[in-house]
């Protein structure tokens, strides 16, 4: 047993030696003001090699049908991994999708993905974009074949998963390592909540936060600024997009979409499932005066949300405290 123990200790220390001094371990860090995540990496051990591979795949345009579009094309880091200035995304062949590319962060806390919540596991979420004819227009078989025949992928898969055999599972698990690590929890708001030294709201921000809790937080619940429910906010009398009912098959879900997070909202415009509003003023004006009596309108919005001009200024001041510049500028997530 002593020999075995020594052998094991040797094995452990050897692993540590392999890490070059300037290479930091990629970690999945849970901010102290966040609850327990839904995705735990328990069956997808996070490693530097797995993360690096996932990141390379995320930015790999050659995966798409005409080699023009990567995940990163429509999920841009400077837009908190949403698609800047695009109401809906452009896929291959300049095809225009029907929905706004959602930002990607704190996905490990989400139980369902996309505006209609059709995808139920983070690991299978890339399949949708890979296969949609208006996005990357490929199939997983083609992707696997390409990766098998393209250096340095076989070597990267070997480093990440111990085998150069590439299959859909390792492709998806590596992309998930990248996506899952995208944690945004260092906004000013977070630092104020965590009572980090010397950081406090300005008076406008504080007044905006008070208003927000009173008028918005029943749907945009802290700390994710979404309760992840599906609701209609009365954009149209009759929605042209069936939304959640496409998934649930239930008429009472017609025209409903997942409540989006408001984190990094400053950079994730345009807004709404179809990207119809280009700035926050339009969004607030919608709630103030534009809510339509749609079939499944959320009961909390029957009378809209009245917001005076000074209230809007204060709410916007608060919303900007949800910007996480450390996340948006973190080189760990950048293409190169």
């Amino acid at each position: 047993m002593l020999f075995l123990s020594i052998a094991l200790m040797y094995a452990c220390s050897k692993n540590e030696d392999e890490i070059t001094p300037d290479e930091e371990n990629v970690t999945f860090a849970i901010p102290s003001n966040f609850p327990k995540p839904a995705y735990s990496f328990e069956n997808n051990k996070l490693t530097n090699a797995g993360f690096a591979l996932g990141k390379k795949l995320f930015y790999e345009a050659r995966l798409s049908a005409d080699k023009s579009v990567s995940c990163g094309s429509c999920h841009q880091q400077f837009a908190a991994f949403a698609n800047l200035d695009h109401s809906v995304s452009h896929g291959v062949d300049n095809c225009q999708g029907k929905r706004n590319a959602p930002p990607l962060f704190n996905l490990a806390w989400q139980q369902a993905f996309f505006w209609d919540g059709g995808v139920k596991n983070l690991e299978t979420s890339p399949l949708n974009a890979l296969t949609d004819v208006c996005e990357m227009k490929t199939d997983i078989e083609t992707v696997v074949k390409f990766l098998k025949n393209t250096a340095p992928y076989p070597e990267m898969f070997k480093r990440a998963f111990g085998s150069s055999e590439i299959n859909s599972q390792t492709v998806l698990k590596s992309i998930t390592q990248f996506m899952g690590v995208l944690v945004s929890g260092n906004s000013k708001y977070d630092k104020v909540m965590r009572k980090e030294s010397g950081i406090s709201f300005t008076s406008d921000e504080q007044l905006g936060y008070n208003l927000f809790k009173e008028k918005c937080a029943s749907c945009h619940a802290e700390p994710f600024f979404s309760d992840f429910s599906y609701r209609s906010n009365g954009l149209d009398l009759v929605s042209t997009d069936e939304g959640r009912s496409h998934i649930s098959g239930v008429q009472s879900d017609f025209g409903k979409f997942r409540v989006p997070s408001l984190r990094n909202i400053e950079y994730t415009g345009p807004y709404m499932h179809d990207g119809r509003f280009y700035n926050l003023d339009e969004v607030l004006e919608h709630y103030n005066s534009g809510v339509k009596a749609s079939e499944n309108l959320d009961s909390s919005l029957r009378n809209g949300i009245s917001l005076s001009s000074s209230e809007r200024t204060q709410i916007k001041a608060f919303l900007k405290t949800l910007t996480d510049n450390e996340f948006i500028k973190n080189k760990l997530y950048s293409e190169s």
Binding site: S5, D139, N167, Q169
Partner: protein, 256 residues
């Protein structure tokens, strides 16, 4: 070196010792054996021939079948005394176009006489949402919906002159596990006690099933291809699942 490494070093041999001990407990090879499940595809008694043969549904409408594949999972065998054995990780994709897929070999089954077999037509609830899978459940098999997570349990594609769809297509992709459109159905068959499934070390019994593709279109509701020629989940998929729950599988005989 960190304390945790010392702990690990101390713990590992203990774990190894326990696992060694456990190995000794595993049922030795002579108490386990294998059997096969064979699926013979038919359409109302005629053998299924893709792309060529013309069949008639209960409404008298002609149709051809180009694709016919389905999942069988969570196979469970029971004995007369009520004890049962769930075959672990039993997920199989049976595809008419791949003859090897129609003969499943099940290994490591405890020997004994089994008088009942049950399985899921499709994939259990949890695996529909369990993340990236391999083998029969690999999305590469074209049986996973990317836009609405979940497996296609039964896929039948073909043509009918009565179909109003483009190219007279028939597209029946049956799946979905959420109420009110849950299409998980199970099959079970009692086995004649006089000729039970005898799992023995010196024999490899074969269970022969007749699989009737026509069962999708009759049983509870007779389907007319004029009205129903396309479904990918939802209420019409439930209608089809209720049909095939009654007649997709029939245990024909066992060769012991």
């Amino acid at each position: 070196m960190k304390l945790s490494q010392y702990l690990l070093a101390l713990l590992c041999p203990i774990i190894l010792l326990t696992s060694c001990k456990k190995d000794g407990d595993i049922i030795s090879a002579d108490t386990k054996s294998s059997f096969t499940l064979e699926f013979e595809h038919q359409v109302n008694g005629a053998s299924l021939a893709l792309n060529t043969s013309t069949y008639k549904n209960a409404k008298g409408e002609d149709y051809k079948i180009n694709v016919f594949k389905y999942y069988v999972s969570n196979i469970k065998l029971s004995k007369a005394d009520g004890t049962s054995y769930l075959i672990p990780e039993s997920y199989f994709l049976v595809d008419e176009s791949k003859s090897a897929s129609k003969l499943l070999t099940i290994n490591d089954v405890p020997i004994g006489d089994y008088t009942k077999i049950e399985y899921t037509i499709g994939v259990d609830y949890a695996r529909n949402f369990a993340g990236a899978q391999t083998g029969a459940l690999d999305p590469i098999n074209g049986m996973f919906w990317t836009w609405n997570s979940g497996y296609i349990f039964v896929k039948l594609e073909g043509t009918s002159p009565q179909s109003t769809a483009t190219n007279n297509a028939l597209t029946f992709h049956i799946g979905g596990v959420l109420d009110p459109n849950n299409t998980i159905r199970t099959f079970s068959a009692e086995i004649n006690a006089a000729n039970p499934l005898r799992i023995r070390t010196d024999a490899k019994p074969n269970m022969h099933f007749i699989v009737n593709a026509a069962s999708l279109f009759t049983g509870t509701t007779d389907v007319s291809f004029t009205n129903l020629n396309f479904t990918m989940g939802g209420a019409n998929s439930v209608l089809v699942a209720n049909n095939y729950a009654k007649g997709l599988f029939r245990l024909d005989h066992i060769h012991n």
